[in-house]
Symmetry: C2
Subunit: 500 residues, 2 copies
């Protein structure tokens, strides 16, 4: 009797010390309403073609909107609201998971084609802008569902930029506090208020997408293809409306437009705003952008050696093919314009390693990200100097500023978590019977939100459709972990998190 | 005219600022004399069997001893000598490279069998205790050359322990300054003088080898096999006298002896001395040892699931097979008792990842080493706590002591160099046309000084003999880089190193 009572008291006491879910659930409610509203677009696309599949979106929008309204109304605060640190972490993980669960509904309602596992996989691969697909026969699918995949990536890309600029630097995840000064340091402020910053980012994102769509259309894509590919290019997502992905377009102008806009989606969006407002450093002076372009150039040079010198392909064809595929992987887009696995072992090695790199932080790109490699390089150099002069510790500088002391351990911890996640995911995939190359490249591709892996199954010419369900759930977890910079999720598994 | 003069003055000035090679060359001379003397053993082994190959060792010992004597006599100092920091780095890199060049002579003189590339590969694989071999038909080779391979590994193992305990902690390489207190902190001193410590370590090493040889002999090995395998077991080297490696011995007692003595060679040797002198912590209380055993147990459990539950092999056979192969890779020995690639994808994944782990620091084992994973874990945990409480930075502790501030960046820099080396080596191997699995596993195996890789060519049932020469030199460079903890070599490429 006494024991039960003590337990009940303890449970009640713990409940009072739980994080306050209210503002978190309110925001998720609002986001769900937005998701439901965006389902009108694919429904319209289907209805215009008199395709009965428009009903799929209505039946998905109804529960999504209902739950969203319920949450938003039940938990709306009086006046403004602020989120504290714990609520920031909760919101990040919960919003991506819950939105994915509802975003999967149109796929799940798509006749007998997809199980909920497949639907969830397709939705999370979309929202995290990974671009791995379980759908085959894209060219024969109704326009609504193709548009829905593109919309998910576009919305996901927007969400990532907002998160990376407005939220993660304050949550101090994986060294991203380095970019906090961008918007908090008074003298260095880009714009005066965070909502202004969000509005600017949204405008740049929309502008880039519109420009990309126009360019694709002018280069000969159909209007529908141009809009879809623009949304998945600028978001570095990589979903296509064709099974052959970019291999469908024989026009090399389309490839070059893709190269430009994939890169445009993987540079720090704050740099656009600085550039637009006429403040230094302009885009091409940004250290991250330069390093990313340097990595691209080195990889392209290696592949040119293979294609042009080795295989005797014409120079211009070799260049555009190498550049498109390298940019597609480095920016974590994941379009395929050719099966680069046929280019020989060096090319396979290059693409495997590029999978880990990723674009710049503060963009739609995934992966380990360029600034972390820069921090590693700076720390490595400093350690080398330190070996010769043990009693002098030169201060490390990044982008002209002194690197704060807490960045190195923060990046170290991120790398450890990334490698740990990569190891666990790879082993998990081998346990489902997948071979080593498929497992390693699949794990890397999911964690870095790239898309294609290597090998016959999930390579650039393959699909994730035939993988066992367990492997799909593992990969889905990997995509979410990678997208949320790992620690945002890992922090929830700390006991201290739940003691308010 | 003036330009040439300026250049000459500048060259002369730079020369005066070069490191002082004298004490370094003196030590190398002494080591070369020792190497020449040790060639008497295999010569005797051949001569006893009236095998004319004994001449190979005489012709190798003569130049080795001559150069050694010359250096030792020319550069002997008056009275004692001390090495400064730069000389410590120089000695480390130069001694391993120069000794390898001479240790390769017996292989190069072995008739038409081996090119100098192959001879150098075999010698460096021996001295670094890697154990990758380019020799096939071991069972038919003269006893002298087999003994020479074992002696190289045994001497290399001794050199590594001495270096890891007496030199590297003072060179502050990759976080190893953490173990400096072991011999410098007055209250915590193991023995009073470094030479005493070296003598103790030598005795323990010799004792372990003798015990291992006796155990192997009692378990049924021939006397020759017992001595050779004892030398390559305790040094975690992995050379065998049979092409089938440990698969040659059907006796499971031999396998269990191997398991015990491979582990005995990969625990911190300082812990032996502490244990022998009755000081805490005893061997099995050492944090590194416990973590290493934990890693072994988890890997064995996974493989037991495959072999015993999955394939229905008898429990005891599954256990000894899994344990032997896991211990062989984790301790970076590299004996093969079975082609574990036939056990399915999970097993391949497990062995690939184990290749990176390595044993404890201060032992003969290679790899990233357990203490670095412990530091990573501690930093990761601390970062997770830091995310929730940004204004409180809890001090990190390792083995009951506060982790010094310079350890995290030092380990981070080591990891960066290791990953960088792994990437460069893998790409280099793919450029020679090797497939992805061979390249990745070969690079990892060389850098971690393990031995076997994965795939049909360099897997546990394969050999490095058929690789192109360029790939062999790359792998040789990888073995040396890994063995010398990377930074010992990288520091030489700094311009500041050469400005005295």
């Amino acid at each position: 009797m006494a024991k039960t009572e003590t337990r009940a008291i303890r449970a009640a006491w713990l409940l009072t010390r739980m994080p306050d879910f209210k503002p978190v659930l309110f925001v998720i409610g609002v986001l769900l309403c937005g998701l439901a509203a965006s389902m009108a677009l694919p429904a319209t696309a289907d209805a215009l073609q008199a395709n009965p599949d428009w009903q799929v979106f209505v039946f998905s929008a109804l529960p999504t909107g209902f739950v969203g309204m319920l949450l938003a109304l039940a938990y709306r605060g009086r006046g403004g609201f602020t989120l504290n640190l714990r609520q920031g972490f909760l919101l990040t993980t919960l919003s991506w998971s819950i939105l994915t669960a509802f975003a999967a509904l149109p796929f799940a309602h798509l006749g007998d084609r997809l199980s909920y596992t497949d639907a969830f996989f397709e939705a999370i691969s979309g929202l995290t802008t990974t671009g791995s697909t379980v759908l085959v026969g894209l060219d024969r699918l109704p326009p609504g569902i193709l548009l829905w995949r593109s919309i998910l990536q576009w919305l996901g890309g927007m969400g990532i930029i907002a998160m990376a600029i407005l939220l993660l630097p304050f949550l101090r995840v994986g060294g991203m506090q380095l970019f906090r000064a961008e918007s908090s340091d008074r003298s260095d402020k880009v714009v005066s208020r965070p909502w202004d910053l969000a509005a600017y980012i949204g405008l740049v994102y929309l502008g880039l997408t519109a420009a990309c769509a126009a360019a694709y259309r002018l280069a000969g894509m159909s209007g529908f293809d141009a809009v879809n590919h623009a949304m998945t290019t600028v978001s570095t997502g990589g979903y296509s409306t064709h099974d052959a992905s970019f291999g469908f377009f024989t026009n090399s102008a389309v490839q070059w437009i893709g190269i430009v806009f994939m890169l445009s989606g993987s540079v720090p969006f704050v740099a656009y705003i600085r550039t637009l407002r006429g403040r230094e450093p302009v885009l091409w002076r940004d250290g991250q952008v330069r390093t990313m372009l340097g990595i691209v150039l080195v990889a392209v040079a290696a592949l040119l050696a293979v294609l042009w010198i080795g295989d005797g392909k014409p120079f211009f064809d070799s260049l555009s093919l190498a550049l498109f595929n390298v940019v597609s992987i480095v920016t974590t887009t994941g379009y395929a314009a050719a099966d680069y696995q046929l280019w020989g072992p060096l090319s396979v090695g290059v693409f495997f390693l590029l999978t880990f790199v990723g674009g710049c932080t503060g963009s739609t790109a995934g992966g380990i990200k360029v600034f972390r490699f820069q921090v590693l390089w700076i720390v490595g150099q400093s350690q080398l100097r330190h070996l010769l002069q043990p009693h002098r510790m030169a201060p490390m500088s990044y982008g002209g500023r002194v690197l704060p002391d807490d960045i190195a351990p923060s990046v170290l911890a991120f790398l450890f978590a990334f490698i740990g996640g990569f190891v666990a995911l790879s082993l998990g995939l081998t346990a489902f019977g997948l071979d080593l190359v498929t497992s390693l490249s699949g794990a890397a591709s999911a964690l870095a939100n790239v898309g294609p892996g290597l090998g016959a199954i999930i390579g650039p010419a393959g699909t994730y459709a035939t993988l066992p369900d367990g492997a799909k759930w593992l990969l889905a977890a990997g995509m979410l972990l990678g997208r949320l910079e790992l620690f945002t999720i890992l922090v929830l598994f700390q006991r201290a998190f739940w003691r308010w």
